[in-house]
Subunit: 344 residues, 3 copies
Amino acid sequence: MAAVTLADIVARLGGELSGDAQTTIFRIASLDKAGPGEITFLSTPKYQGKLAATQAAAVIVPVDVKSVCPVPHIATPNPYLYFARLAQWLNPATRPLPGIDPTARVLCEVPPSVSVGATAVIAAGANIGANAIIGAGCTIGADVEIGADSLLHANVSIYAGCRIGARAIVHSGAVIGSDGFGFAREAAGAWVKIPQSGRVIIGDDVEIGANTTIDRGALDDTVIENGVKLDNQIQVAHNVHIGADSALAGCVGIAGSARIGRRCTVGGAAMILGHLEIADDVHISAGTLVTKSIVIPGSYTGSVPFLPHADWLKNFARLRHLDAMADKIRALETRLAELEKKSS
Amino acid sequence: MAAVTLADIVARLGGELSGDAQTTIFRIASLDKAGPGEITFLSTPKYQGKLAATQAAAVIVPVDVKSVCPVPHIATPNPYLYFARLAQWLNPATRPLPGIDPTARVLCEVPPSVSVGATAVIAAGANIGANAIIGAGCTIGADVEIGADSLLHANVSIYAGCRIGARAIVHSGAVIGSDGFGFAREAAGAWVKIPQSGRVIIGDDVEIGANTTIDRGALDDTVIENGVKLDNQIQVAHNVHIGADSALAGCVGIAGSARIGRRCTVGGAAMILGHLEIADDVHISAGTLVTKSIVIPGSYTGSVPFLPHADWLKNFARLRHLDAMADKIRALETRLAELEKKSS
Amino acid sequence: MAAVTLADIVARLGGELSGDAQTTIFRIASLDKAGPGEITFLSTPKYQGKLAATQAAAVIVPVDVKSVCPVPHIATPNPYLYFARLAQWLNPATRPLPGIDPTARVLCEVPPSVSVGATAVIAAGANIGANAIIGAGCTIGADVEIGADSLLHANVSIYAGCRIGARAIVHSGAVIGSDGFGFAREAAGAWVKIPQSGRVIIGDDVEIGANTTIDRGALDDTVIENGVKLDNQIQVAHNVHIGADSALAGCVGIAGSARIGRRCTVGGAAMILGHLEIADDVHISAGTLVTKSIVIPGSYTGSVPFLPHADWLKNFARLRHLDAMADKIRALETRLAELEKKSS
């Protein structure tokens, strides 16, 4: 990244500058490691104590702590957001040259601004937006649409007929449009496949993590709205609907036809069962199994504490007898009431 | 899909038709969305109330509700199965032309009916059955066998020596035959790899989901019997044996040498530990950790309910003291018995 | 594998031989299946009863059970480790010929001893060590370093700038260097991406399972030390640090900036939250959610027992009322104490 001054930064991104505006910044670094020529940020008051000892050239601070910062600093209501914008500006993505690698296999027209990596495969009828980057080894099925300025990293697989909006980022190994898991069962137990004839429809500004899978719908479509962020190794089953600006952490699974609202967050390895609905602004903690609809915004959790193994053995084995414990308490209450009556 | 009449459908698939046999069907749709020219189905009595308002041209109904359906309908004991068969008939899979794409790298003979996609790689000694489709970017190792009419979607990886039966469907990103996780440990803690010299042997009519992984056996083989259906992102460790017609939902993990019976179902994100045995016709609920063998058919569950976060904090923290609670109940019982004795 | 005698084996690997040193061994087999010409091993005293009936030509046994073995045997303190070393010797990996497949796309210099598979893609500036094997369909980003004697199976994706040490084994579908899941949030709920400018740095002798994903760091690097073994479908988030010789089983997830010590083991599907620290020599059981730091070595568990579904319903529903149960117990104790006082 090129060098900029604090004056340049504030001119572009706003904030209230204290200290030498000509201080030069070469790099962003974490609060613990930042040194001369580096800018860092204080995202939570929790780490405020580290400010005094910082070797950074400058710090982005919340409005309310600016007075205690010993080096030049920029005060802003949301330092983490400011840092994100600064990092985007100072670390512009390097992009490959436009054009189609000679080892790619492209069976449709693509705009000249598009870059298609080595051994990528794009089937007939696909529609690739301007400035899109299709990474090495990607396979794009027939009639797929990919919006302008989207970036597919290497080895992404997109099945026929799916649509991805503009400015998407899709990481390696992601699979979009695989068949939903739909089978009817014969009396003797054998499964009969239900053709999955829906599609996956993904909005604008969506990011999809490495090895995440999104199944196509059975009859209707699977839908991911604008601004959704999916981490790695998430499984999205057929006919799921995820509302705008929701963010799901790694290893989450969402079963068929679940409907997740807008601005929801889902913690790592949470599992959401099918055919249920989650309201807007719901937050699911890591490791939680969501087994029924949630209609009230808020935070929900269902995980168990961990313990040293011996303590766990002693305590968690009791779970098998919790109902009996409740019965014993009720019996004690009855007997005690009886005695109390007698003795009064 | 081409248009058919209800008479055509019943002639092919059976069922008892009520209403105009010449009603024309252009498409299958869900019960909520079906309109003119579309056929839908009622799979459970739960949705029977929706029948009265349906705009569908026709409905597939269970035998016992046929009387209340206001539009032409086909009565059958299992509407969902009927729908599956109808959908298969009306949505025949489109298949690529036979032949080897010029960018594929094929080092064995393949039948002329086989289709090999762009940049696919098939090593020497592989044996590909008639009419098989090998998707773009697949890599097939040496001496692999793939049965007739099997379909590998794009970017599937199959290691040397593995066998897949006829009519398989393998989704993108699936990996078959990777090394099992087998190491011995030196005294100082370093791991010594145990060569994984078994194979993966997969029967006929198996479907394998996107990004599912199946490890090869250590000494013996990993075995998936006929008719097994694996959803996306399932992990099958070395030497696992899955019985015929079992179906496993997304994100399930099965540890080494576990043996799962026939016609079992496993819910999403369930985890089955190693070196145990699960009988035929066992059903494991989503999110359950199976830690020991199950010898009696039936349904088994081991997950915790979720709660609003504050309620969860209050209740689940008690789990650390469940043993102490049981002790207190026992102490109360003793003291109460003592009092009761005195007062009698 | 070639035939060897027990004398050959002991000459190479040590151990105390009893029985005919000229016994010829053609293959290694499991204790249950071993027959003539095959050597097997007894790894735990638990299976000692099977020794009497073995048809094996020879058995590797622990020092303390050697007397009861009816066939030639080699006594050693750790038969499983001995078996691992023997198996490595008798099953040398077959390796492809050195050289670059004509369908590969290699934009850097590679040593003549390196083997690059069909349709593999290696970007400019990459540095591939001697004798490395790059599997078919792999994509290696710009400036990646891969150490000598490393093996990448087919369809591995490595992003620009990452480093892998010597003697690595990376399985198909693994993704190394994808962006960490880092976003700041605007007041209205939209997410702003934080560029992930760190790298993934992997030591020597590391094995990475199929479809495992390792994200690059945000500002600093994600680090995997020497000798770490990662099973399939593990998710390692940005800025995680995993200490030397730790081994993680399948489906484990590790959230951002978690720091795991040396010689740790993590059971399948365990989930480790972010920004916490786990000491050396900690063992996490399968299915455990680690929500805070662990400073004392030992075993830790947090999973629930499974039950027949009806029993589970009865017992686990009580979890929603555990706090109320504790209150009832306390009330009973108070009332009982009152009565006891009266009656004394």
